[in-house]
């Protein structure tokens, strides 16, 4: 069975769409921005320096994230004389914990999320992010945490089937099965689902945190018999595409593909969505030490982040990148100022303190 994190889903999504075109796009985009030639010339000089610097092992979920990360992050870092080695085996919380506990840490940087901060926080297995090296001004400040720092942005959004719902629905309509009969889908994880249930119930955006879990559960329970729960991103895509659901909450990357696949039959809105960061975490006692922090700092550059947006749909984590995003990519960029303004930003502190417990309770609620 596949794991269900956003980072991994990006990879699956790219696989389903065919890997080669995105790689070509990447290189084409890189050339268009005039970065690749510069990187190539610098890479020669950098190689000698790299001998002295430690290798940084960066773990993502493999597949097509490999060439995408290669272009967006590895080559620019090599141009500065560093070296990132990609490992596509996927850094699940359980695996990081095993590694640190057995004192056999081979990973330096892991592509993770806010829920992992909560899951791993109490076990004290993550290094503090060194903000004397990583530049706090190059990320959205609310997504720079003690044990992790944002690497890219993604959103959980509401999508609907225009053949059954003619006008753009609101979150309140999602919970109104009289107005729009039919099944809905949510993610099989409390993350983002609670926020959207509360917004639908009339909680103002700025009063969302701390989440009123009881109220959110009560709201979800009102339509429980009409709900399906997806675990992998591809599930969410097929449930809407095949007409099994009339509305659904899913990741914006999947929603983008649905619009293409269905010729616009499925539409989505960033309005009242939840803007979430993907997060770099560094396992405690990582082999490359501080070099990992220098690699993270290098990956903050806007150019690489825009390449990632073009290849995988992940929004830049560096606010400075937004001005450079090409117009055709801006509408689908979850972290563009226009799109960010209509969304709520996830509060990681709340997740660190509450997610493990709430997630279990959510599973108990939805399991019949």
């Amino acid at each position: 069975m596949d794991k269900h994190d956003f980072a991994e889903d990006c990879v699956n999504l790219a696989i389903e769409r065919g890997a080669d075109p995105s790689r070509r796009d990447l290189i084409r985009n890189a050339l268009a921005m005039g970065i690749a030639p510069a990187a190539l010339t610098l890479a020669g000089n950098g190689a000698a320096l790299a001998q002295a610097r430690k290798e940084v092992v960066l773990v993502n979920f493999g597949g097509v994230a490999m060439p995408a990360f290669e272009e967006a992050f590895v080559k620019p870092f090599a141009a500065e004389g560093g070296k990132i080695v990609l490992d596509g085996s996927g850094a699940l919380s359980g695996k990081i914990l095993t590694m640190v506990r057995s004192k056999n840490v081979t990973w330096d940087i892991c592509d993770s999320g806010v829920t992992s901060l909560g899951e791993l926080g109490p076990h004290d297995v993550l290094e503090d992010i060194d903000y004397s090296i990583v530049d706090k001004s190059k990320v959205f400040p609310e997504f720079a945490y003690e044990k992790g720092v944002v690497n890219y942005m993604f959103s959980t959004v509401m999508a609907w089937d225009t053949s059954k719902i003619k006008t753009e629905p609101t979150l309140a309509d999602f919970f109104d099965t009289k107005k729009y009969p039919g099944r809905r889908m949510m993610r099989k994880n409390s993350q983002a689902m609670l926020e959207m249930a509360l917004l639908a119930d009339g909680v103002p955006k700025d009063k969302l945190y701390p989440l009123d879990v009881k109220r959110a559960f009560a709201k979800i329970a009102t339509i429980k018999k009409d709900l399906l729960f997806w675990s992998s991103g591809s599930d969410s895509q097929s449930l809407l595409r095949d007409g099994e659901c009339v509305m659904g909450m899913l990741w914006h990357t999947r929603a983008n593909v649905l619009i293409e696949e269905t010729g616009g039959r499925i539409q989505y809105t960033f309005k009242d969505g939840l803007l979430q960061p993907g997060i770099w975490v560094v396992p405690k006692g990582n082999p490359a030490g501080k070099e990992a922090m220098r690699a993270i700092a290098s990956m903050q550059k806007p150019e690489g982040q825009i390449r990632l947006l073009a290849a995988m749909g992940n929004g830049p984590a560096n606010p400075l990148a937004n001005a450079q995003v090409p117009a055709e990519l801006a509408a689908r960029n979850p972290s563009s100022p226009q799109n960010a303004a209509v969304q709520v930003k996830v509060n990681a502190e709340w997740y660190t303190a509450n997610h493990t417990k709430t997630y279990q309770e959510f599973l108990d609620l939805i399991s019949s």
Binding site: K188, L228, S231, D242, D364, S367
Partner: protein, 293 residues
């Protein structure tokens, strides 16, 4: 003289026997070593973790009695496992009965039908059910267009869907032990019962059925144990709403990292299955059932 000779022969025979034993042990030593290192030791660690993480003691096992979440999950697991086992056994019995009483040519075709699904990945089969059972899937569209129903039946994304998928998976595992047992029943017993004046059904009920019960029990154990730890089908066909023990353990180990709880449930499952097998071994000869001896 002859007494001495036979004693000597016996001694020689004994030492030869001891030698054979040592050689046998040496032969299986590598396998035994592998089993200990790669199987017994990790399982030992799982058991150990269940009483030491997060704190030493039986705190994790206490949750079995106190946690409503675990109760609910165990009930779901028990309910689905029981229904799956019972329905599978009934269907498997009918199939095996037909199989035994068919011509060799029909038997070959029937076996093909039973065995081919066994070789197809459980994932592929779950997706095939998805195509058949969903809202505008084959079954619903046939029923709707023929006017039998006017709203689509909820055949998937619930426990019904999970059970359909699981029973389909378990059916070959149920048919094969029952068939093996029925094949060995002496048909003359039934003929004798009929000759003594029993009606067809009575001959079946009082002669054939009792003779075939060991096969049913064996199939029951096999299906029950497989169903208890089933993961893929409930996760795919349950619409995210059917949480059984295997998925629950996965969430604990990989996602919320509550290893003590996860290992406790794994240990409980292990002990439960061990206990079931021990109890059943008193009722039936398990070695014979699974083909040994």
């Amino acid at each position: 003289m002859s007494v001495h000779a036979s004693a000597r022969e016996r001694r020689a025979g004994l030492s030869l026997l001891a030698g054979t034993h040592t050689r046998y042990w040496l032969l299986i030593a590598p396998a035994l070593f592998m089993l200990c290192v790669f199987y017994i030791y990790p399982i030992g660690r799982v058991l150990w973790m269940s009483v030491t993480v997060p704190a030493p003691g039986l705190g994790n096992y206490e949750l079995l009695a106190t946690s409503a979440s675990i109760h609910k999950m165990l009930l779901t697991t028990a309910r689905i496992t029981m229904v799956t086992t019972v329905v599978t056994l009934i269907l498997a019995y009918i199939l095996a009965y037909t199989l035994v009483h068919s011509s060799p040519r029909t038997q070959r075709w029937m076996f093909l039908g039973i065995l081919i699904p066994l070789w197809i990945s459980v994932l592929v089969r779950a997706f095939a059910w998805f195509v058949l059972l969903r809202r505008d899937g084959l079954i619903n569209s046939v029923l709707m267009s023929s006017g039998i129903i006017d709203t689509p039946l909820s055949l998937i994304w619930n426990e019904t869907g999970v059970m359909i998928g699981m029973i389909h998976y378990m059916l070959p595992l149920g048919v094969l032990p029952i068939y093996a047992n029925m094949r060995d029943i002496d048909q003359r017993c039934i003929a004798a019962a009929r000759g003594l004046g029993a009606k067809r059904f009575e001959a079946f009920r009082r002669v054939f059925l009792p003779l075939s019960l060991p096969g049913v029990v064996g199939a029951g154990i096999l299906v029950f144990i497989f169903s208890l730890g089933f993961f893929v089908t409930p996760a795919l066909l349950g619409g995210g709403k059917t949480l059984m023990i295997a998925e629950y353990i996965k969430v604990q180990i990989l996602e919320v990292v509550r290893w003590g709880l996860g290992t406790m449930l794994a240990a409980t499952l292990l002990l439960l299955i061990g206990g079931l097998l021990a109890a059943l071994s008193r009722l039936v000869n398990l070695r014979k059932l699974f083909g040994a001896g």
